[in-house]
């Protein structure tokens, strides 16, 4: 873990173990913590209908998994299912992977430090479970691998530690759904994810979060990309959450490494989201694009973005756009660029405001009602062009967005 990533993580997460320094601090002592239990195995189609419905709302397919190369499900702190349908792809609980591969411990806490903040420390000290997903050299997923992290028990801290490795020349598409059993039960999700993208490998990671107004969520994600590697991250949260704070970091360490972060967030009243993406361009020819779309219908959003160019011929662009719908709610866009030498090319654009009346009237002049015009503009606002995503996943992302759009009007 480089010092600069570590320092930033500490600064933004704000809270090393035991310390309390931000208004968004989650007091973990008010919740039940568990040591992870041994993985079990159940057929996902036998899950209770209620649980299935919740998981499906986060993009997880359970009854017919023919359109998935692999599946992993963790309920609270116990992996309950892992399966794989394609040679060259591995999907298993992290504890099983550690038993199987002695070398895996060399990856543990390498992209992110265990003492980054109290949340990573909590994950480290509770023998946390999570998924291990790996594509062997040259292997390419025919269908996406899906992973579901499900928080079922009330007042529980769910600790997760995931590791994803795309070996040289491989291609891995992952869709992750994180959700709860519904209702208004309080709970906390702590998720550490480390991605290692080797030379010439490509990973797309699409994550849908569907929490409740009482859930505290602290994902801690870091990615290391080697030469000619590509990491494409899509993140969607359109349901209420008590407090979400995440600032995933990607380090382009190899020549021509490329990363794109797309985030879509909608904050209803009572929700607080502090979300951003960071990229460190450490090698020549490395490229970054960060695009975020934030809508508040009454909640508070901080939309961050940070690109640091540390090598000549590196290029980064950051785009933060926010829409305030209704009379309350705030959006604070914080785009940051740092160039440490000549030859970096970094730019950003940021805009926060309401829907322009001129745009609504333009569509009304074509015969759309005011409500139809507003919905069309909002749908367009959320329509981030996602390059590099397989058509099927693109369609699933679009469907996930559209199914939540109705809550906006």
């Amino acid at each position: 873990m480089s010092d600069e990533v570590n320092a930033l993580q500490k600064e933004t997460a704000g809270t090393a173990t035991g310390k309390q320094s931000t208004p968004d601090d989650l007091d973990l002592s008010l919740y039940e913590s568990q040591i992870a239990e041994k993985p079990s195995y159940i057929d996902p189609s036998t899950l209770a209908d209620k649980d299935k419905r919740q998981m499906m709302s986060a993009g997880i397919i359970l009854d017919d998994t023919s359109q998935r190369s692999g599946t992993f499900i963790q309920m609270d702190n116990t992996p309950i299912h892992s399966s794989v349908k394609q040679d060259g792809i591995e999907v298993m609980a992290i504890s099983q992977a550690l038993e199987k591969y002695d070398w895996l411990k060399d990856y543990f806490w390498q992209a992110i430090a265990a003492d980054t903040d109290k949340y990573t420390a909590h994950v480290d000290s509770h023998s946390s479970e999570g998924y291990f997903i790996r594509a062997l050299p040259g292997s390419k997923t025919l269908y996406p691998v899906q992973a579901c992290l499900y928080l079922a028990k009330s007042r529980l801290v769910q600790d997760v530690h995931n590791i994803v490795i795309a070996e040289e020349g491989s291609e891995l598409h992952i869709i992750t759904g994180c959700t709860t059993a519904g209702g208004r039960e309080p709970g906390i999700h702590l998720g550490v994810s480390e991605f290692y993208i080797k030379k010439g490998a490509k990973v797309t990671f699409s994550m849908i979060h569907s929490w409740t107004p009482e859930t505290g969520v602290r994902p801690r994600t870091a990615t290391i990309i080697e030469e000619d590697g590509l990491f494409l991250s899509n993140y969607i949260i359109m349901k209420p959450v008590h407090s979400l704070q995440a600032y995933p970091a990607a380090r382009c360490n190899g020549e021509n490494a490329t990363v794109r972060f797309n985030s879509i967030m909608v904050a209803p009243p009572g929700s607080r989201m502090d979300l951003g993406s960071r990229v460190f361009l450490n090698a020549s020819g490395s490229k970054a694009e960060i695009v975020s779309r934030a809508i508040t219908t009454g909640g508070d959003i901080i939309a961050r973005g940070y690109i640091e160019g540390n090598c000549p011929d590196s290029k980064g662009h950051l785009e933060c756009r926010g829409l305030i719908m209704g009379d309350s709610g705030t959006i604070q866009a914080i785009p940051e660029l740092k160039g440490t030498l000549a030859g970096v090319d970094l730019s950003h654009e940021a805009a926060v405001g309401k829907i322009a009346e001129e745009e609504i009237e333009y569509l009304m002049a074509r015969g759309l009602s005011r409500d139809e015009a507003t919905a069309t503009i909002v749908r367009g606002f959320l329509n981030v062009d996602i390059e590099g995503l397989p058509p099927m996943l693109h369609a699933e992302m679009k469907k996930a967005i559209e199914s939540s759009e109705q809550d906006l009007f």
């Binding site: 002049a365 015969g367 367009g380």
Partner: protein, 250 residues
Amino acid sequence: MEKKNLLEIKDLSVRVDGRHILHDINLCIQPGETQVIFGPNGGGKTTLLMTIMGFPRYQMTKGKILFKGKDITSLPLDKRANLGIGLSFQRPPVVRGVKTRDIVAACLKGPEESKTAEQLAAKVNLTEFLDRDINYGFSGGEIKRSELLQLLAQAPELALLDEPESGVDLENIALIGQLINDLLEKIHPIHMRTHSGLIISHTGHILDYVNARTGYVMCNGRIICEGDPHDILTTIKEKGYRECVSCPMK
């Protein structure tokens, strides 16, 4: 037999942002008829079109507007569009994320219903613009063609065309003229046409491609001249709008 008026404007006065812009406008358009309004910049031409379309910023202080015999004076914008009025904007806004295809699909109705967005886009030479954000990075000429694409999909009985030729290069102006003729059913004799047009033109170039029956000159928010559009244009070209303002016939 005289046709009923498609559009009838009676004693119209309009205020925009507290300023009185239009004064005592009277104007009638019959089905199938095309009229053209000339005038200097800032004379009130665009204000008249925006008022007919029903934009809330353009407040009527006097008079009324009838469309197909119905008083639409207090009818909102979208209802007027659905009754059959369409506007080609001079400077339309960019709507990020909303694709040209989305708007064309929303406009498609009536006789154009069976035509796909692709067919219409090919007609206006904008096929590759269908999946771009509407008006984002469009050139002047592309904006005009995009506006006409939307109007062709909408197929309004009354097309309000605000400076359709401005910013269009010579290569494309004939296409713009052809598209307007299609929109206004110029292929048919006037008694068979149902679609009408009200065109604003600062330069009058569009008359080289589109025939109009009646021409007006609008200056300082008033219609000061009415007659054969080619005669009016000849006078304007020779003597400028100053002559119109001082004309004893007005």
